[in-house]
């Protein structure tokens, strides 16, 4: 980049402080300040100003509010809790039905008897 070019940017920085630059020129000025050629003391002031404005803008960016966010999180947590409980219940089934009717009896005993009988006449 030539000395003339640097003068061009310097002049644009000057116009920026006079509020005479367009949005497009400000955009180009920002991009230029990030280049190697702009690492010059004469651009320190404009760089500091634009950097400060950028940081301020980011920090004070209005947050987008999600009105149902809390509700959605609560619903998800409830679903997780329910699934956890349901899974626990499903993993520990023990039921006996006789003629299609649930019967209160020890399923373990029936299971053990059935398996013992199943293997009673077989080879090991």
């Amino acid at each position: 980049m030539t000395q003339h070019d640097l003068s061009y940017w310097e002049e644009m920085a000057h116009r920026y402080f006079l509020a005479e630059t367009t949005d497009e020129e400000e955009q180009r000025l920002r991009k230029f300040l990030c280049t190697k050629e702009a690492q010059n003391a004469r651009f320190d002031e404009i760089r500091a100003t634009l950097s400060y404005l950028h940081v301020s803008r980011v920090q004070h960016k209005p947050s987008v509010k999600h009105p149902f966010r809390t509700l959605a999180i609560a619903a998800c947590l409830s679903a997780i809790a329910f699934l956890g409980w349901y899974q626990y219940q499903q993993q520990n089934i023990s039921s006996v039905r006789i003629a299609g009717q649930d019967v209160e009896t020890d399923a373990s005993l029936l299971m053990e008897r059935q398996l013992t009988e199943m293997f009673s006449s077989t080879n090991p």
Binding site: S94, R97, G100, S108, L110, Q114, F119
Partner: protein, 142 residues
């Protein structure tokens, strides 16, 4: 939000593969015949099976089965036997080892000694040999 949905899906996933027996013909036997007055159905899963290294037990025991009931169950068992990787068959019993499901062994055990017909589906880490030995030993201790 995506993370929460992922957690929910992960929690749901075990249910999707629960009980491989659902894809077997013998499921029809459990559905159709468990309501008969001479039938006893036992379903177990979870920590009470841990001692046997099993994860799922489902049985159907029919006292004094009719010829039709016997025929029905035998044909359903025979249909599933087609996919068995090992089989042990005698006049009184038939044991079939099915392809492993999620790293677990799955077996169909069928026994008909005349007055009692028993159909069992089991899943677990234990092999048939280990299950046999366990219950045969148990019987000899009585």
């Amino acid at each position: 939000m995506k993370k929460i949905l992922t957690i929910i899906l992960v929690m749901l996933s075990p249910h999707l593969g629960l009980w491989a027996q659902k894809g077997l013909s013998i499921q029809t036997a459990f559905d159709e015949l468990a309501v008969k007055k001479n039938a006893t159905e036992v379903v177990m899963s979870g920590k009470r099976l841990k001692n046997f290294h099993l994860t799922y037990f489902h049985s159907l025991e029919i006292k004094n089965p009719s010829a039709a009931e016997h025929q029905r169950i035998a044909s359903l068992v025979q249909a599933d036997a087609a996919q068995a990787i090992t089989a042990e068959e005698t006049a009184e019993h038939r044991f079939y080892e099915l392809p492993q499901h999620k790293g677990l062994h799955a077996y169909i055990l069928y026994r008909n000694n005349g007055p009692t017909l028993t159909l069992i589906y089991i899943e677990g880490k234990a092999t048939l040999k280990q299950i046999k030995q366990f219950f045969q030993k148990k019987q000899s201790e009585k």
